[in-house]
């Protein structure tokens, strides 16, 4: 298990000053963050830019040392016993960096594998298996500079798995990828956790990705953890409004009045708009589901229903809500 306890990271940043007299200021990138990574589970770290997600990942992967607090990986301290920790972790970042472009995919994996002490037949079969896993076997001997963005990202995944890490950190892994390739990668990430028992920490700006993949989500804002739960519980716990959209062919004055009363009774609000097709779209917003009373009301007014759908609050709404609340 990877345990992060009360971790804080402070950077000393040089401020403008003269040649002889330089001024420094301290910037707290991460403040008192604690969480756990468990085999077979994917956890999400969400927050707006500069929240401290990447700094947290880099501390967990031993690239940065925390100013205070502890990170242990299967009992090893990530600072004092980093040699043991490094063998168990790896990181995959989005974008096209972190690879040698003039080398082929196979050569890249061979080089990075040798950094982990792999060699000979064991390394060769590991490379073949990973290339097959990420669908790059046919392009294995092509220089990376000729790869598409999606191929480079898949090679990044293979590189991140070269040491068969127990703990994998994915920092925006689908950044800039086309939808079908991103979907394929998400499927692969899920498999890594479910079928291979990897503990995965994911940061992403694509909220639906986090909702789809993560068992638990940690929301981080200005370096502090502000919420932690399952994606579904997080959206429920904040009591955000559900929007109920219904399209009807005609709107009488009495129906309009009854819709207004219904919204008030459930502590919500009502919006009405005429559509281009000369029908009416009624939107009821509230913390309680008003589908049943709405349908009863429309039946009582003998109003046919052309379309009906419910819009649940998303994780994105949760983050925006929290950012607004903390900014206020």
């Amino acid at each position: 298990m990877l345990i992060v306890e009360n971790v804080r990271k402070v950077y000393r940043v040089k401020e403008k000053g003269s040649w002889l007299r330089q001024q420094w200021k301290e910037v707290e990138a991460v403040s008192d963050v604690s969480f756990r990574m468990v085999p077979g589970k994917i956890i999400g770290l969400l927050g707006i830019n500069g929240a401290g997600k990447t700094t947290t990942i880099k501390m967990c992967s031993t690239l940065l040392s925390p100013t205070s607090g502890t990170i242990t990986v299967d009992g090893y301290d990530a600072v004092k016993e980093d040699r043991f920790v490094k063998a168990k972790v790896n990181m995959i970042a989005g974008g096209e960096r972190m690879l040698y472009w003039r080398l082929t995919g196979r050569e890249n994996l061979h080089y990075f594998g040798s950094l982990y002490g792999l060699h000979g037949g064991a390394l060769r079969s590991r490379i073949d298996s990973l290339l097959l896993q990420v669908g790059l076997l046919d392009a294995a001997d092509t220089p990376v500079e000729r790869y598409s963005k999606g191929m480079k990202q898949r090679l990044q995944i293979a590189r991140g798995l070269i040491n068969d890490p127990s703990y994998l950190f994915l920092d925006e892994p689908t950044l800039g990828l086309d939808a079908p390739i991103a979907r394929q990668l998400r499927k692969h990430v899920k498999e890594l956790a479910v079928a291979h028992g990897k503990a995965i920490l994911l940061t992403s700006h694509y909220i639906h990705e986090v909702e789809e993949l993560c068992d638990e989500v940690y929301i981080i804002d200005k370096g502090k953890l502000v919420a932690h739960d399952t994606p579904a519980q997080l959206t429920q716990s904040l009591n955000l409004e559900t929007a109920l959209h219904v399209v009807i062919p005609a709107l009488s004055a009495s129906l309009d009045l009854d819709l207004q009363k219904l919204a008030v009774r459930y502590g919500g609000s009502r919006e009405i708009a005429e559509t281009d097709e000369h029908t009416w779209e009624v939107t009821l917003r509230g913390q309680t589901d008003m589908t049943t009373p709405l349908l009863s009301l429309l039946a009582a007014h003998q109003s046919p229903v052309l379309r009906l759908h419910t819009q649940q609050p998303s994780l994105e709404d949760v983050i925006l809500h929290m950012a607004d609340r903390r900014g206020a």
Partner: protein, 271 residues
Amino acid sequence: MKQLTALLWAEIQKEHRHSFHSKMVYFSLLIWPAIMFVTAYYSFAPFRTGADSPLARFLSAEQLPLFLLTGYLGYIFFWCLVQSAWQMSFERQAGTMEMIFISPVNRLAFLYGRSLSSLVEGVWLFFCFTLLALLFVGGMHPSGWWAIPLAFFVLLVSAIVWGGFLSVLFLFSRDASFLYTVLDEPMLIFSGVRLPPLAFPLWAKAISFCFPLTYALQLVRGLLMEGAPLSALAPELALLASVLLLLVLVTVVLLKKAEKHMKETGNMVMY
């Protein structure tokens, strides 16, 4: 040991594919030092180099081509490593340095492996050229058949240790490229590549003994030009070994400090 060999081989392959990908690179690695050597040789032409010249106290006119050839051969060994260390900025920009430091690879093995691969790729062509030139020029007085491989070994080890030291300096800061200016030209001037350090004034002699190339060249010239027996060269060999050992110790200490510094400041990704 197998792991270390595998790492060295992987490093050599990576450097070969990454930095020595074109025939033109090898061509430039031959032509540029050869031009430097020819320029240096003909720079002496307008001056007196005979028995009554100031240089004659330290070097005879007949020895000048050999002196310059061995000097430039040694310089190219060390220069390749300055270049290689400078290339660390590429690793920073490409983000590959993070991927190296996230792994448990032995840092010292990585640094020296990197130096070795750059060196072998960078000098083999000029080394062959120099050997042919030495045979063509004549006048060599090697201490024995073993003098040439020993001279090569001395240059190889000295340059690798120097390269490891420089690479660590480049790990500290993205702005370490100024070292290229600070170290490269003074090394050429003061290490006895073109002039014997003994001919220098005292202040210049002091600078010359800061560069391991000075000690390495003394030894190489003793082996190839003066035909000195190994026993006579033992003090110089011991001096070079001490300097290199000191440099390795400084490299180890600085390497630990550099990694700690990178982990504290996060400057590994700054470029």
